[in-house]
Amino acid sequence: MTVEECYEKMGGGYADVTSRLRTDERIKRFLLKVVDDASFNNLCENLAAHNIEEAFRAAHTLKGVCSNLSLTMLFHSASAITEVLRGKTEYSEEFEQYLERVKEDYIVTMECIKNLD
């Protein structure tokens, strides 16, 4: 799968990312780094442990990463949970549905990246 096909499949903005980062080679290099990025795991773990402030930071970082690489679909779900967690200190049931969406999008995104040529 080419970088462009990959972006199409995972709901990303290929035109946007190429205009900013210029080359497929660089985009691919950083996409592969997303796989190792710890922020998604941090988000899940901290939410499970009810460390809401840490969870917020992790969500915020994930959102930043997605925005830099124009992973639009995952960016939206990461943004949503970031805003829900912002300023909160107490755990709430409603966080889970937002996390579910992030998880779904994250899995799709990872699948696509792993299938890059």
Partner: protein
Amino acid sequence: MANKSTKSKKTILIVDDSELNRSLLSDMLFDDFNIIEAEDGTEAVMILQEHELEISLILLDIVMPKMDGFEVLAMMNKKGWINTIPVIMISAETGSAYIDRAYDLGAVDYISRPFDERTVKHRVMSNFMLALKQKEMADILSEQVYARERDSRLMVEILSHIVEFRNGESGMHILHVSTFTEMILKHLMLITDKYNLSKADIKVIVNASALHDIGKMSVPENILNKPGRLTQEEFEIMKCHAAEGAKLLADIPYRNNETLIRVGEQICRWHHERWDGRGYPDGLKEDEIPIGAQVVALADVYDALTSKRVYKPGFTHEKAVEMIQNGECGAFNPLILQCLDDIKDDLRSALHMESPSQNLDRGTRANVEDILKTSGGDVSNRTVRLLEHERMKFSFYASLSREVMFEYVNSPEMILLTDYSSEYLELPEKILNPAESEFGSRVFNRKDFDQLLTRVKNSTPESPIVEGKYLLNIRGEQKWNKVIVRALWSNDGEQPEFEGALGKCIDITEETEEIQQLEVLADRDQITNLFNARAAKRKISKKLAAQSEKLYALVFFDLDNLKKANDKHGHLFGNELIMAIADRMLSNTRSSDICARFGGDEFVIFMQYKDKHQIDRIFNCLTKDLNGFPVSVSMGIALSNECNGDYDKLLHMADQAAYSVKYGGKNSYKFFSDLTGSGGGLLEN
């Protein structure tokens, strides 16, 4: 990819908690900059603490664990870093409250995510150039302000010097009057707010004070320089100089609004008025006289008293102050007299101990600093403060370490010693032409010094450290020292240049002596203090390897009846016998020979071989009775020409010969060459 030298590139600090974001930025910028990364605020602050002067710009994320971007900015404000290191914020937070807060805290720009390569590069580059320009401008400004200040003082001094020259005065009068005036006025501001002079006002008065006597240009020279007392008529002419001076200034075309001219007029005209109204030319009294003129009047009187004149000696500072306080030299404002009393000690040191040019230069510098501080250019200050801090740290550690430390400066060539080192070596702190000096030719052996210096200069920036063991002469004593030197290479420009070196001498005399003693101990047999087998092997092998023409004999023997001696007379006697044998060995050989005990009752002598009589004599001495006990040895001798330089072979041959004696009746000696099967068979003795 361009691979420019890392040294010519400027350094950027990227602070972001996401590794991916950092590497993305670093990927965009690493062509043009060196990159340092920090993963949170605390790490960033730590890096700044250490590399403050190297970092040219910071890219700073806002939301981070431990310490967020705002806290980093706050810390940078507290430490003053924010004034010289531009900070560009990076964040997905585009809310205007965030941006405003960052700007308020001193951030210069803002890049929002997602990053666009062109934007990032452009913002970084332009902010970097801006900061660079600002620094250049600050440097140029301070240079210019300094030059202007110096020039204007110089002009005033030239002018006043002309007056003094005509007066036949010392040339120091003007300087003394202005220093005195400045110190009194500054103190006056501390003790009263009656006059309310600003720093700038004081500066004008001090500058104008130099003009107080310009009216003397109009006084004929024969009156001005008359050695004796002036007549009443002459004095009247002399008195005109006050009003004349003021007129001179007032007549300068187009300039009568200048503060310096106005204040100068006041000082010229009224510096001979008196507090009680009995002065000239106008008989003003008390605060009718402008404060500047009042202070200059006192300064003028003080300097006249302490200076030597044709008609009077110079009084001491103390005497002059006393005369003034007693009202012997005119009437002055009590507040100014109080100032004189308060700061008389400072005045004495300022006027009579320092060189006036030093004083003047310092004054100019202080003025420039004032100007720059008020205009907000605190650039060089920070560097100075940092250097001061480093210097303090260094001198503290140096004083604690009690080691000789020195700095070598390449050009002009000199050695700088720390306080302690200079005291310890009894040498000055600054030593020019080091190779020829006491340091390079007495403390160090001249050859050693030259060699060490060459090694240092031949080092490289990558491995700049050189060390060696040198015998130094320290206060007349020879001391072994480990000398460690680190070369300093300039790191700007393509070709690194040798700038100098830092060094330290560690006294290892005791250590060396201890090791030597241990070596001696390890070489010796404990009972007899003869060499042991290991040491004998080493020493003998060395002699055999020397390939001299000399012929050596290795004499190997054991005591035939040690066991019997032990059984009959006890162990102590056995030991006594062994020690007696050792004594006999030593007293019958030369110090260059090698005597060893191989353990138990086996002994070896290695010596230069002359003839059989030599062996015979030794054998006879060894076998003398000891306190009535008959001493008996079986001795074998091998010569070095038979062993091919091989110690083990030589020892084996001697051993074989001794063995043959032992089983052939004991208490005799035999040469290996005389054994059956080796060409001989004759039994000696």
